[in-house]
Amino acid sequence: MTAYNVEKIRKDFPILGIEVSPGVPLVYLDSTATAQKPAVVIDAMDEYYRTSNGNIHRGVHYLAERATSMYEASRAKVAAFIGADKPKEVIFTRNATESINLVAQTWGRAFLNKGDLVVLTEMEHHSNLVPWQMLAKEKDLRLEFITVTEDGELDQAVYDQWLDQGPKLVAFAHMSNVLGTINPAKAMIAKARRAGAITLVDGAQSVPHFPVSVKDLDVDFMAFSAHKMVGPTGVGALYGKEELLDKMPPYMGGGDMIRKVYLRSFTPNELPWKFEAGTFCIAEAIGFGAAVDYLNSIGMDAIANYEHQLVQSALIKMKTIPGLEIMGEKAAHRGGVVSFTLPGIHPHDVAQILDQNGIAIRAGHHCAMPLHDKFGISASSRASFYLYNTEEEINHLVVSLQKVVKMFS
């Protein structure tokens, strides 16, 4: 294996070379919100529009055939990337959020009934809370939550208690977008299966950052977004086991998702198209495939190792700042996300002052209001790291945070 060459990787991402104001280079520490895109992804989409644009699955002409094979090749790449057996187990959606809503509105509506227990966690992104709240209201379901410990981990004893009550579904984030905690998904899924529950993993933060195999996890559903894994916005995926997807009613109705349509009825298409109604964002789906190729070319193990080093170094350096508190610092397994607070300084002020130093971090509740409530705060600042970040950027972050503290002292 060759050594990890971050300088070479940075050159693949055109945006990393920009200055936010004259002489102030961009330091991008917000990849958890959305990752930057390498030229190969941008070019793949550009190239598609220049040479191959046609509507998929419906034409017999040169461009339609070409677009269809590129689109389906992209699906096969995404499926292989997450270790799925069959490409048809990967449904293209707009993003992780839509993937979760799809499961709630089709599988959930069809198979969950009044009084059924759905187990979620306190560290969920709103996208893995609200769809279930909506369904719970409609179907009178019972929602319960695995609590988060002070260290930022899921309380497995609480999980066991809910499992004893026979949940129908267990849905949780593989990695928290606030705490960075990597949950023991494989063990949690095995336990859920023994208890007879279906499982859904929100892979929005795990799939981009470390090797994830749906087969190894033995998960029933997994949701993720291309834009967080160096791919374009507007496309994501739902993985589902074939036997489950087969039993589910369609999601949206329209073209492409049908086999036959009569005036008063239709028969649905087969997998995966059954869930892909209407003309899809074809260029973005192709960009998704290019993103997967790019990540594979670096290697997910290498990316995970590198990020691990970065975040360990960031944690040590950030703790030297007086008063700085890190949310969920002690979690045994954590990814490249550090959410923190500074006493008496609002996260918006922190983010704004860092922005003037060219540093992009996130401030707010990061779509996890209940988790912030749990920690007794309304907002936090979050720095997150990805394959293209450097040790120098962390140093720059730390020096700038020291300036912030000084300004307010």
Partner: protein, 135 residues
């Protein structure tokens, strides 16, 4: 750097002149910006001549929202309540003396929305209140 955090803003954030609450009061209103959890309550006392005699704000939030509240209250002491109805976004921006992007603008304008909702005796603080004299 730091154009946004002019001395005056940091100063009003760290040492506000009008932090506190007034009990009893003639006008009191509170609201928050759900996006960032900024929360502000404004209390006013109005004299027999219809002019603001005392003002105070309480709550928590970023330097911009808190400094904006302090500067705003400072500017309305002695003003006729009806004049407050005509305050707009521009007045707040003049007080702060900075340019703000759309996200931070919401923080800066929260105090004005709350103040006007209180003065008009409305149930909620809406964005319409940031323009000239609406009710």
């Amino acid at each position: 750097m730091d154009d946004l955090y002019r001395e005056v803003i940091i100063e009003h954030y760290k040492n506000p002149g009008y932090r506190g609450s007034l009990d009893p009061n003639d006008i009191s209103f509170e609201d928050e910006n759900p996006l960032c959890g900024d929360h502000i309550k404004i209390d006013l006392r109005v004299g027999g001549d219809g002019k603001v005699s005392e003002a105070a704000f309480d709550g928590h939030g970023c330097a911009i929202s808190q400094a904006s509240a302090d500067l705003l209250l400072e500017s309305i002491i002695g003003k006729d309540v009806n004049e407050i109805k005509h305050l707009t976004k521009t007045d707040v921006m003049d007080l702060l003396g900075i340019e703000l992007g759309p996200v931070r603008l919401k923080c800066a304008l929260l105090p004005l929305k709350i103040l006007k909702a209180g003065v008009y005796g409305l149930g909620e603080a809406t964005d319409d209140l940031l323009e000239e004299g609406q009710a």
